[in-house]
């Protein structure tokens, strides 16, 4: 690969290490310097064995366990979520049922209350009616009494007035005659 020749092979020049450093004696490609192979192979094997032990003893079991645990957690969580969903549906159904029952109960209570109130009202109305009719009767009686007294008073006043008028006009008056005349007029 390494050529000291001045041929037109540019690649050789580009790659050529005809220069300084320990590579003076090395071939053009350090990759083909077989003196370093033993060293590289030795350390490569050590590195690979080290990585292998790190991986197989610690890293891979741990990562595998974490992944499995996560998978388990996710599965459990999904199952729990399904459970909760079913429970929620059940609870909703129970709630709906309770609601419907409560509504029916409320309707029933309202109807009963309405009936009670209606009955109370009817009874109160009847009582009130009776009271009113009693009061009316009493009032009518009172009115007729008042009317009777009023007529009597009118009669007395009429007789007195008539007597006074007669006295004023004729000087004397016969009380009996006047009373009879007034009675006759008031009947007329």
């Amino acid at each position: 690969m390494a050529t000291e020749t001045t041929n037109s092979d540019g690649l050789a020049d580009v790659m050529g290490v005809q220069s300084h450093t320990p590579a003076d004696t090395a071939p053009g490609m350090p990759q083909l310097d077989f003196t370093t192979f033993g060293n590289q192979i030795f350390w490569l094997i050590i590195a690979l064995v080290a990585i292998y032990f790190i991986l197989s003893r610690v890293a891979l079991p741990r990562i595998g366990a974490v992944l499995a645990e996560r998978q388990g957690t996710i599965t459990n969580d999904i199952a729990a979520a399904e459970d909760l969903k079913v429970k929620a549906t059940e609870a909703e159904a129970a709630y709906d049922k309770a609601l419907i029952e409560a509504r029916a109960e409320a309707q029933r209570i309202i109807a009963a209350a309405k009936a009670d109130i209606q009955a109370d009202l009817a009874r109160a109305m009847a009582e009130a009616d009776v009271e009113i009719s009693e009061k009316t009767a009493e009032s009518e009686k009172a009115i007729s009494e008042i009317r009777a007294t009023a007529m009597q008073n009118v009669e007395v006043v009429a007789k007195d007035t008539a007597e006074a008028i007669v006295v004023a006009l004729s000087g004397s008056a016969d009380a009996k005659t006047i009373s009879a005349a007034v009675d006759a007029r008031m009947k007329g």
Partner: protein, 252 residues
């Protein structure tokens, strides 16, 4: 070629796009022997620490509702786990830690390599080839252990006309043995090329007139490399899964 021409015109403009791949001792100087701690070693170690930080420290709370870090760790886990399960089936799941190891190492090496001054271990064929051959041998041995000689039926395409089968078998055998090569070169090549191109563009920034264009080009390349870093890790992993599937279910 253009690079060379421009470089020549500007005079003194030097490109060392491959220097970034040089493996050198991290502490001090000297030769690189098999145990030396090199820049490659350091960045591999950082990748290991990053994997530890993300997958262990990031998940330390084991939260049911994850934090951001834990989310990323779980994402990575789920991504590879699903890939293994989809391609290899249930029997493949027990190889998941190995495939995850490869993926995490490659993806972190690739991404960390994008940091300025960083070194990309996966840009080296030595690294990717070892991983690819490890996959190749593991899968081949696994295939024979699981299925014995009948693993060879993988090469015998029973759905093809009888006359064609020997030819197809030959092609299948060749492609089977080319697998580790393509598997490793694809990753190393992509990593190396991207970094080298960015370095070349960076070299042009020395010329004032071209510098803005160079910066734009580096930005664009960098964005592309971010994508490539992930895609190559993904491709390496998914091909590993496909090869593993062949070993587990060799019958077409």
């Amino acid at each position: 070629m253009v690079a060379e021409a421009k470089g020549a015109e500007a005079g003194g403009l030097v490109f060392h796009p491959m220097d970034q791949f040089i493996v050198e001792p991290f502490f001090g100087d000297g030769a690189v022997s098999w145990y030396t701690i090199t820049n490659s070693t350091v960045w591999m170690a950082i990748a290991v620490l990053a994997v530890f930080a993300l997958l262990v420290m990031g998940t330390s709370k084991r939260a049911i509702v994850p934090t951001r870090m834990q989310s990323v760790a779980e994402l990575a886990y789920g991504f590879i786990y699903k890939m293994v399960e989809d391609i290899c089936g249930k029997e493949g799941v027990k190889y998941f830690p190995y495939i995850m190891t490869l993926f995490m190492f490659i993806v972190f090496s690739n991404f960390l390599g994008l940091l300025p001054m960083a070194f990309t271990p996966t840009s080296h064929i030595a690294v990717t080839a070892i991983m690819a051959f490890a996959v190749f041998f593991a899968v081949t041995i696994l295939g024979f252990v699981k299925h014995g000689a009948s693993f060879l039926e993988l090469f015998w395409v029973s759905s093809a006309p009888l006359a064609l089968r020997p030819i197809l078998a030959l092609i299948e055998v060749i492609s089977y043995f080319v697998r580790p090569v393509s598997h490793s070169i694809r990753l190393a090549g992509n990593m190396m090329a991207g970094h080298a191109v960015i370095k070349v563009f960076a070299g042009f920034a020395a010329i004032a007139a071209i510098a803005p264009l160079s910066v734009v080009a580096i930005t664009a390349m960098y964005g592309l490399e971010v994508l490539v870093s992930f895609i190559q890790a993904y491709v390496f992993t998914i091909l590993t899964c496909v090869y593993l599937k062949d070993a587990l279910h060799p019958h077409h």
